[in-house]
């Protein structure tokens, strides 16, 4: 039985297929201006018995495929529980959202916090700031890591922060020190969110921004708590959705409804 999970994020679409407890396929693509199309392309040719959608575009896919959906918060909780069972605190920084999730002793989601409606402190924020400093994303993180001191960024509003960055460089501030300042700003904001729901314990750090080495380093430093980053932090949500699909498939009556690919039930 193959269960797929698709996570339609604001920046990237992720697909994971699991079979017999193992991940058999992982795919990623940029969301582009047409998330439905991006998702369709990603799943074309992929074999699965059940698919579950998550991420901000989940309802779009639901309408298209008639598949079940779960929130990305639940998907991350499920994915984390499977990847790192002992962890009770999740930090997910994605393209447009930052989420902190705490799990109870059974590994089920208990509390969560999410950033307010703007892009402040998210992946998108980092992208815009890298751009304002004429760095690629990779250079941006690397440069920040070489800085010994940093320029403080006061504004977390993307628009204001961008003009702050521009005026700092105009005043002759060093580019890599501004870069570090930006990374520090996003980290302190994420940490505040995290501390509201989970003041202590090991942190599982996932989402696209977990690929950024400078953010990872700063989070571990400033939290003084162990921080675990999975091998592929981007697919935790899709993986969680796939696991949810596998669990649903365990309920046979449910399978009869969602199947139809070959009409048979070989769960």
């Amino acid at each position: 039985m193959r269960a797929a999970g698709i996570d339609i994020g604001s920046r990237t679409v992720k697909l994971v297929v699991v079979e017999g407890g193992a991940t058999v396929l992982t795919r990623k693509a940029l969301t582009s201006h047409d998330p439905l199309d991006a998702a369709r392309t990603l799943i074309s040719g992929v074999e699965y018995d059940v698919i579950v959608a998550t991420g901000y575009g989940r309802h779009l896919i639901k309408e298209h495929l008639g598949c079940p959906v779960i929130s990305e918060i639940k998907a991350f909780a499920l994915g984390t529980k499977a990847i790192h069972p002992s962890c009770r605190v999740i930090l997910d920084i994605g393209g447009q959202d930052t989420k902190a999730i705490s799990l109870n002793d059974a590994g089920e989601m208990s509390k969560f916090e999410m950033n307010d409606k703007c892009a402040a402190g998210t992946g998108r924020f980092l992208e815009i700031m890298a751009n304002a400093l004429s760095y690629t994303l990779e250079e941006f993180s690397k440069a920040a890591l070489t800085a010994e001191s940093f320029e403080k960024i006061n504004s977390m509003c993307t628009v204001f922060a961008e003009s702050e960055v521009i005026s700092l460089t105009a005043q002759g501030a060093k580019r890599h020190e501004v870069a570090l300042g930006i990374h520090k700003a996003i980290v302190s904001r994420s940490i505040a969110l995290l501390k509201r729901i989970a003041p202590s314990g090991e942190v599982f750090f996932a989402g696209g921004v977990a690929l950024n080495k400078c953010v990872r380093t700063l989070i571990a430093e400033e939290l003084s708590r162990p921080v675990v980053v999975p091998p592929d932090p981007q697919i935790v949500g899709a993986y969680g959705a796939a696991l949810h699909g596998a669990a649903l498939a365990g309920e046979k009556s449910y399978m009869r409804i969602v199947r139809g690919r070959d009409g048979e039930n070989n769960v």
């Binding site: 990305e72 918060i73 639940k74 089920e108 989601m109």
Partner: protein, 426 residues
């Protein structure tokens, strides 16, 4: 509706802007309310009221004025309707729940202000609210800083703005202040209406107001049932109409709706399947047409079973004692009644948490969604301790902070769905 155009013109409305507002309202109402499944028949009355909210009801206000009655508009449940009715006045709520003409509001107010206040100013400055224009007296009250200071800005824009001062603590001195203010307000009403408040008229005012409250309490009680016999959206609408409609007709219509719901409950019928996740709302008032969060909740697989809000039980749960033979005795009853309202502008405000817990139990809720309007400091600050107290009592709680815009609808939906998943995961 065109037969009202002259009336709107006479009230000084900007007809073009007003048409635009009505058309947005009409289509939103269609999408949000009329598209719901299994609605009770009794909601037809409220559909009618809403379709005539700027028409027939305003005509009634104009007729009342022509007959020598005064229209009194207000923005807070601390303004005692009993007193207004005691001079045979008409009481109308003026709070506004739409992002309309915020540009106009922001010409005179800061941007970082609660949307409820901005909306009221947007309506006033855009000349689209016939209730504001029809009011002989507009009553402001010193509650939150936003409103208190905004009234200073509003004052020159309206013909008669009257301010009631309110205490901030539930102390003896606080109560004396409230009494002094209500006495002054009585004199103001008597003066404006050229009528005297007598024990008899005051008693009548109390009875009419209590009648409305009893009817909505009966409605609230029916929502204990699973499946819920009425959606949270429809129940909210009834609570919103509470502030506009003719009180006697409103009471009769709510009771008729309740008769129908009683039958539904007996037969085990409801608007959503039995076992649908049940949530309680708590927090800032939702004024017409603010239906944003309830709509997201009820299209995310949950049903709202109660509102701890001023457009809801915080505004209606207490009746005014009608015992007493003199104006002074009856006024004391009114003060006792209003002094119980546990708005977050009071400090400390412990009874509010108790009410949330009590409602959680009473309506068999499974979680509480705390709703704050952006920049509403009293409720946002209070939401922290409220959440902590509820979680401590093992009540799953989700705190939301939002405004009237639609841009965060996706994020709100994610949070609300995750909250439902959290509750159902138990």
């Amino acid at each position: 509706m065109s037969n009202y155009r002259q009336m709107w013109l006479d009230l000084g409305l900007d007809l073009e802007a007003h048409d635009a507002l009505l058309s947005i309202l009409g289509s939103a109402y269609q999408d949000i309310f009329l598209s719901q499944k299994n609605r009770p028949e009794g909601m037809k009355y409220f559909d009618f009221v809403m379709s005539e909210v700027h028409g027939l009801r305003i005509k009634e206000l104009m007729d009342a004025k022509a007959a020598g009655r005064i229209v009194v508009g207000s923005y807070c449940v601390f303004v005692p309707e009993e007193l207004i009715l005691a001079v045979d006045g008409v009481s109308v709520g003026l709070c506004a729940g739409a992002e309309f003409n915020f540009e106009g509001a922001e010409e005179v107010l800061p941007r970082n202000l609660c949307p409820l206040i901005k909306s009221a100013f947007g309506f006033k400055r855009g000349l689209v609210c016939p209730y504001v224009e029809a009011s002989d007296i507009i009553v402001g009250e010193n509650t939150c800083d936003g409103k208190k200071k905004a009234y200073e800005v509003l004052s020159p824009m309206v013909k008669d703005l009257y301010i009631i001062d309110l205490p901030q603590m539930k102390s003896d001195i606080g109560k004396m202040l409230l009494k002094g203010e209500y006495l002054k307000f009585m004199a103001k009403l008597e003066d404006a209406s050229a009528r005297k408040i007598t024990a008899e008229t005051l008693k009548k005012g109390i009875e009419i107001t209590n009648g409305k409250r009893k009817a909505v309490k009966r409605l609230a009680d029916l929502r204990k049932a699973d499946p819920a016999p009425i959606s949270g959206l429809d129940a909210l609408l009834v609570n919103q109409v509470f502030f506009y409609d003719d009180p006697l007709r409103f009471t009769a219509s709510v009771n008729a709706l309740c008769d129908e719901l009683e039958e539904r409950v007996k037969k085990g019928e409801g608007v959503f399947p039995k076992g649908t996740t049940r949530v309680l709302m708590s927090g800032c008032p939702m004024a017409v047409p603010n239906w944003k969060v309830p709509l997201i909740i009820e299209t995310s697989g949950a049903v709202i079973v109660g509102e701890e809000s001023c457009v809801g039980e915080r505004g209606t749960q207490w009746l005014t004692d009608v015992k007493g033979d003199t104006v002074a005795e009856l006024l004391d009853n009114i003060i006792d009644r209003y002094f119980q309202i546990d708005c977050a502008v009071f400090t400390p405000n412990p009874s509010r948490v108790d009410h949330v817990k009590d409602m959680f139990d009473r309506y068999n809720a499974q979680g509480v969604i705390h709703y704050s309007l952006q920049f509403c400091h009293p409720y946002i600050v209070e939401s922290g301790p409220v959440e902590a107290a509820l979680e401590k009592a093992s009540i799953p709680t989700l705190r939301l902070e939002t405004d009237y815009s639609q841009e965060d609808a996706g994020q709100l939906k994610t949070r609300i769905e995750a909250f439902r998943e959290r509750i159902e995961g138990k």
